[in-house]
């Protein structure tokens, strides 16, 4: 039977290739709106490629995404930024694909394409008119099977990536602050190397390394294909077999990061100075669990209660009432291997870092001691529900959610079950997870201060020493 409130049941789906997945536990009634479960189909090709699809004919477009399970944590030693540099090379073609092919099959026919690299994954995504599904599948399969990079296009595209670094980091008054968050917060895990890398290691990268990276990580058994929109399932099956099915699965094992992050033994403070930052900023980080942890839903709720919107705790207390910060955020930045809980704050003019740190600590102490209210919890749940509905408006939104569930969470079903998990979180759970990862744990503080404060600090130091 169908449940009245489909939102929390997500009676699932039917897969032509692997049989029906059982529906989850029936759940309590939702607050009034229903979200129909997404009917996900799944197939695995013989070479290991995972394929997930959703059929939806609302608009004559289709979103195609290829998620490779390789990210900046897999950058080779001494090559910080390499996975991202490589992502750019994937648009440079091979013996069949011209350098412009992706634009000709997307932009030039009214679609779009792009790609991004994160710590755990690299994702190539397109939205095309649905009559272009077959050509775009062909093109994605082509660049999975081989690349033809030469010195000329390698050097020129590396220059583009260096400009990207300059634009994101050097031209941004707080760019170097965001790099420092990861560099200072992780001691051993490669998450400490920022995805964007640095100019010196980008310059050191060599063409043969690009080829090696492709053969090591860009293989069908390390990839997940997501197709959402105006499709016919039988056509998709035929075309994926035809274009992706012939790509061989290498016999070598896929190398995986084995480094583990040790528990922090002591608090640490790093102070950086910048000639560009007009206002001081600082961050406080704690180590957090993997995104696959059972604590994730409660941490996500805590994230929303602390810093989603102007009624959130940190905005109300630090920006609105005390006017000590011009911006503040709390982010449960959870990743595949482990994560960070990050508090970040840019001061308001005329406020001092110690007073802002004290004010933030008071907020942290308060939530650890007193937890959150039922009203705050209900608000956060409504925010997630609305966010989910907004995501479902586009094929690309659905494809991104499906890819994240399948690859990052390791479970495609979570696109339909996560909301129920969020709705089941209690105030006690929110308080408990925050205490679990913050109370009595060691923190890293990163202060990012205007240069003018450096001379002031030096002067006062000199005075004391005299």
């Amino acid at each position: 039977m169908r449940y009245r409130f489909a939102l929390l049941t997500f009676a699932f789906v039917v897969s032509r290739f692997i049989g029906t997945i059982e529906a989850g536990e029936p759940a309590p009634p939702s607050p009034g709106v229903t979200i129909s479960p997404l009917a996900i189909k799944h197939a695995t090709l013989e070479n290991g490629l995972q394929i997930y699809s959703i059929e939806d004919h609302k608009s004559p477009t289709v979103a195609v995404q290829v998620w490779y399970h390789v990210g900046s944590k897999d950058d080779p030693n001494g090559r910080s930024g390499f996975a991202h540099l490589f992502e750019h090379m994937m648009f440079k073609g091979n013996e069949h694909l011209k350098a412009d092919t992706f634009e000709e099959l997307t932009e030039n026919v009214g679609g779009e394409n792009n790609a991004f690299t994160a710590a755990d994954v690299t994702v190539y995504h397109e939205v095309v008119p649905s009559n272009y599904l077959e050509p775009i599948l062909w093109a994605e399969a082509e660049r999975m099977s081989s690349l033809a990079i030469n010195d000329t296009n390698f050097n020129s595209e590396r220059d583009v990536v260096k400009e990207e670094y300059r634009q994101r980091i050097l031209a941004n008054p707080y760019g170097e602050f965001s790099l420092a968050l990861e560099q200072k917060s992780f001691a051993a895990h490669p998450y400490k190397r920022p995805t964007i890398g640095n100019i010196a290691e980008l310059d050191a990268s060599q063409l043969p390394e690009v080829r090696a990276f492709h053969s090591t990580f860009y293989r069908p058994d390390n990839a997940t294909l997501i197709v959402v929109g105006d499709i016919k399932p039988e056509e998709l099956e035929t075309w994926t077999k035809k274009y992706f099915g012939t790509i061989p699965r290498p016999s070598e094992k896929i190398p995986r990061v084995s480094a583990t992050e040790p528990a922090r033994k002591q608090d640490a403070v790093s102070v950086m100075y910048s000639p560009k930052a007009p206002l001081p900023a600082f961050a406080v980080t704690y180590l957090a669990p993997s995104i696959r942890s059972e604590d994730t839903p409660a941490l996500d709720i805590a994230d929303a209660i602390l810093s989603e919107g102007e009624s959130s705790r940190l905005y109300q207390s630090l920006v609105y009432q005390q006017q000590i910060a011009t911006r503040v955020s709390f982010n449960a930045d959870l990743r595949e291997d482990l994560g960070l809980l990050t508090f970040r704050l840019v001061l308001a003019s005329g406020k001092s870092v110690p007073e802002a740190e004290k004010a933030l600590d008071a907020q942290i102490d308060n939530i650890l001691k007193n937890g959150v209210t039922e009203d705050e919890l209900k608000k956060a749940k409504n925010q997630f529900l609305t966010g989910k509905l907004r995501e479902l408006q586009t094929n690309n939104g659905k494809a991104s959610a499906l890819g994240e569930a399948a690859v990052i969470y390791g479970d495609a079903e979570r696109i339909n079950t996560d909301l129920a998990k969020l709705q089941a979180v209690t105030t006690d759970q929110v308080k408990n997870v925050l205490n679990k990862y913050i109370a009595g744990k060691k923190r890293v503080v990163i202060e990012y201060l205007p240069d003018a404060m450096k001379s002031a600090a030096a002067a006062s130091l000199e005075q004391t020493s005299k």
Partner: protein
Amino acid sequence: MRSSFIAVVIFGVTVRAALAISGVDTPPPPAPPHEINFTQPKETKLENGVRVIVAERPDLPLLAAEVVVRNGAEIDPPNLAGTASISGALLTKGTESMSAPQVASAIESLGGDISSGAGWDSSTASVVVMSDKAEAALTILADVVLHPAFKQEEIDRLKKQRLDGLRVALQQPGALAAFVTDRVVFDSGEYGHSTGGTIETVQAMQRDDIVKLYKSYYSPTNAAVIFVGKVTLEQGKAYAQKYFGAWKADATVVKAAPPSTTEWKPENVVVDMPQAGQSAVALSRPAIKRSSPDYYSGLVANAALGNGFISRLNREIRIKRGLSYGARSSLDARRDTGPFTASAQTKNESASEVARLIMAELKRLATDPVQGEELKSRQAVLTGGYARGLETDEGFAGNLASLAAYNLPLDRLNAFIPKINAVKTEDVTAFVTKYLSSTPSLIIVGKAPAFIDPLKKDFPDVKVIPQSNLDLNRPGLVKEK
């Protein structure tokens, strides 16, 4: 009730035959295109003059509601840049019956969000919420638009936040170049100041300035209310009547006559920012009004130059030479003549080369016409992007708000795609000849010593202003001595 649909074919372009390289894997040809439908919006009017526009999109239980007022930063008083923007932002910062935290808490508890502010020619306030919470959300939306309190405490708080935001923006080459471009292109005209204001104008702004602007322009006859999502025309009408029916005009809208425009002269300006991690390069000039019959030809010309990964600017600057993460151009057609701008960020040492390349591409638009596959592909960029913009309820509402702001008929929503597809090579060339053929202004914000010598070979009359001597409030951009 289902609304009527207009069917338009948008994806009619075929791939170049050149893709068919012989080999094992030749690209398969595309299937015949499918059709796309946009919901046709409907409208009515309340007795107090408020225009009501409804687009029924029942697929998901969401509602986007937007109030648009047909004036924005273009009516900022002289020397008070940012008044419309700050007035707009203050709407959600407290009403006669709710404090700012109460507004935020009320809307966010519903899972929704609310935002308000001003653009160049219009001001908006909007919410997106689950449709079963429409009444509660509209109560708040109407309250912030009809009964803002403009409390002194909230004005002071917002001004402080705005000033800190400006202090950060002024240290970014791209953001600062945009401020400078407004001034260089429009001088003391209505678009010459910064929409968000400057440090000096925000500091100078008083409560009276804000209240006066609100009372003059936020009136029912100067406004439209838009509902998009799981809502019927009847429901939308009822919502509008219930929540906006009591809106009364405090004053008739008297639009200040735009400053008389003197004949435009290009000017080349470099702002020397010693700490710049990159240079922002822009070429800009006044172009067309939104009501111009040349609007669609202009969009195609602009798309050929700088809209997309393989537009001409990206081809030359990014793909061939690796000089930038991305180059772009924009045709910003406004109620009065708005700007055409082409821009890119690059390392300081390359700023002169990038300026020269942008100038060369601008000239080539006239000498190397946009035709054949290039024309078709840029039409597809525009129509495809337009269709994606209409995928979400809030995107759809935003498009309707723009039509309402410019008093354009609602059938333009469905006319966009055929009008773009009707543009011919000679239309594009005529646009380029008419509007873009004379020399534009050059604006660079970056570390000047790294590029000034080679730059002077191409732009000998360039004026260099040290960042410390820059005054965005004055035509000429230099601080008073």
